[in-house]
Amino acid sequence: MNQAIVLEALIKTVIVIGGLATGAAYLVLLERKMAAWVQDRIGPNRAGIPLTDIRLGGLGQPLADGLKVLFKEDFTPAHVDRWLFTLAPVLILVAAFAAFAVIPFGSVLPVRSAATGTGAPVSLVIAPGVNVAVLYVFAVSSIAVYGVILGGWASNNKYSLLGGLRSSAQLIAYELPMGLGLLGIVVAAGSLNLEEIIVRQAAGGWYVLLQPLGFIVFVVAAFAEAARLPFDLPECEQELVGGYHTEYSGMRLLLFLLTEFLHMITAAALIVILFLGGWHLPGGLTGSTDEVGWFGALARVVVLVGKVFLVIVVFMLVRWSWPRFRYDQLMSLAWKVMLPLGMVNFLTVAVLEQVRWAWRLEGPYWTALLAAAAWGVCAIAVVLLAVAAPGVADNRGCRFTESEEQTG
């Protein structure tokens, strides 16, 4: 029984890590292709099956890229702190992989698990039934900050240090709105378990419809935590060369780049699981009970992975559509816009849930009414925000504003 638990977890771990590494490699290709499409180019289309002339539209590119990076010299500059310089990429990669221990990649398989002994079906998550799954993801993602800071500091380079500082400040600042966006979910679902949250959405409606404000706050914060383009100040090429991984090359650079894509997958998976219903698809393709056949189980995996893929495509579209924030804009967005919105969301959800609970407002009509109330609050909050405009920063020097006031 003990061995069965370990074996089951090991098999799932191998599947998840293999899938993630391969997925990240092909996401690099997808990103390059999408960049090409957005910019009206063709993109990488030469590399196909090795040693033949078959091109497959560039599908061999990740393999070629990987080999290229592996065979490059892994150079350690003379002025760096050797131990921390090596520790940083490893640490950040381990933290990125560790988050997937509690993120489900499906529902259950219709096989009685030998591990638990109770005859429960096999859950498609490495650590099933973790009571604090959401908090665990948060804790592990806060470990990732170490990789960035240490990498930037150990490089002993101005640009790296600045990149590391920016990144850590950004990650710490956006953890707050992310947590606030999530609190509404926890209140509504009554659980911190990601599988349980999906089940609740399958039964009572997706949270993107019930908590629109929370969705907005969470998605913006997720972009910032993944350091995707509107928020990619840690490594903005024009200002900082490459940010905290300027000094890295070869395999260790690959670890950093892989981690960036892993963070994006984590963020997309969290958005899907928390707000977009996980494996649930209305229309009867996937029901809400745990009694599923093989077709249902596989369909759920396909639906969940497909949703994550679609969210990642949105991430990439955003990357090639928007310019980067200025640093003060980034911070004022976090503290002056997202934080109040998150608090409004939390209060709204708490009040609505209390109303629902106190008067026992069950059924689709009441749910629709409560959702409409949440949308109303969302609209009012956004309008008020537009009027107050706390994010508009006048960062001209003090003298200029003074003289302008005096002259007219």
Binding site: N2, D81, W83, L84, L87, G129, V130, N131, V132, L135, Y136, F138, A139, V140, S142, I143, V145, Y146, I149, L150, G152, W153, L161, G164, L165, S168, I172, G190, S191, L192, C398, R399, E402, Q406
Partner: protein, 241 residues
């Protein structure tokens, strides 16, 4: 004094000497000796105090985690570079969190990582990085010779001895473990929800007081920051017309 406490005393004495040798000093040779002595004392401890755990794997996992935690903690106090100290301290916190998880206290474990490793230590690291400390800190340049090290190691040894003896007595009194755990709800499937319920019903006042305290600290920090911005050396905030 029976055999067990004599053994404990010997182990603690060994650990004390190891700690004294490990603390930052001018030569490196003594620190290697200290590391070896420390390992030896840990092994002797292992021989004496085998915990009554269910299985061999559980025993192994516990000891690996415990050794990592203690080793990282010792490394944290014996490093000369502040950045390394912070990193080792972080590892020690991760070990502590793993031990808590091992005991089934999921929330405490995650909170340790998120709050201490994820927030507080990152802030430390931030400050250390910005300060770019070179070489030894000021408190290392002031010398109290070996007295301070010896006193620190002695206090640590006494504390550990007392704790071990107390826990030993606690373990010897017959505690019905299974009902106790059930009562504590540590192993309950929904222990987070129960934990929250407990916190916000029985301990509501403490929570509110702690929250108010943190808010006051926050406001205080901001007010200090604003005041220091108006220091006499700095230019005035608004130009008088």
């Amino acid at each position: 004094m029976n055999g067990a406490s004599g053994w404990l005393c010997a182990v603690l004495l060994l650990g004390m000497v190891a700690l004294c040798l490990l603390l930052p000093a001018t030569t490196r040779r003594r620190r290697w000796a200290g590391a070896l002595l420390g390992l030896l004392s840990l092994l002797l401890m292992l021989v004496e105090v085998l915990l009554p755990l269910v299985s061999w794997t559980a025993q192994a996992v516990f000891w690996v985690l415990a050794a990592v935690t203690i080793g990282a903690a010792v490394a944290a106090i014996s490093m000369t570079k502040p950045v390394y100290t912070a990193v080792w301290f972080g590892l020690s916190l991760l070990g502590t969190a793993s031990l808590l998880l091992f005991d089934g206290a999921q929330f405490l474990s995650i909170a340790t990582v998120a709050v201490y490793a994820g927030a507080i230590l990152v802030t430390f690291l931030f400050v250390i990085m910005l300060a770019q400390p070179e070489g030894r800190a000021v408190y290392d340049r002031i010398t109290w010779r070996w007295y301070s090290k010896a006193a620190a190691a002695l206090v640590a040894a006494i504390l550990m001895g007392i704790l071990t003896l107390a826990l030993d007595r606690f373990a010897r009194t017959e505690v019905p473990w299974a009902p106790a755990l059930e009562q504590l709800d540590v192993l309950h499937p929904a222990h987070m929800a129960r934990f929250g319920g407990e916190l916000f019903s029985k301990h509501l006042l403490s929570i509110e007081v702690a929250g108010a305290l943190l808010l006051v600290a926050l406001v205080g920090a901001i007010s200090i920051m604003i005041q220091s911005g108006r220091s006499p050396g700095a230019p005035p905030e608004r130009m008088e017309p």
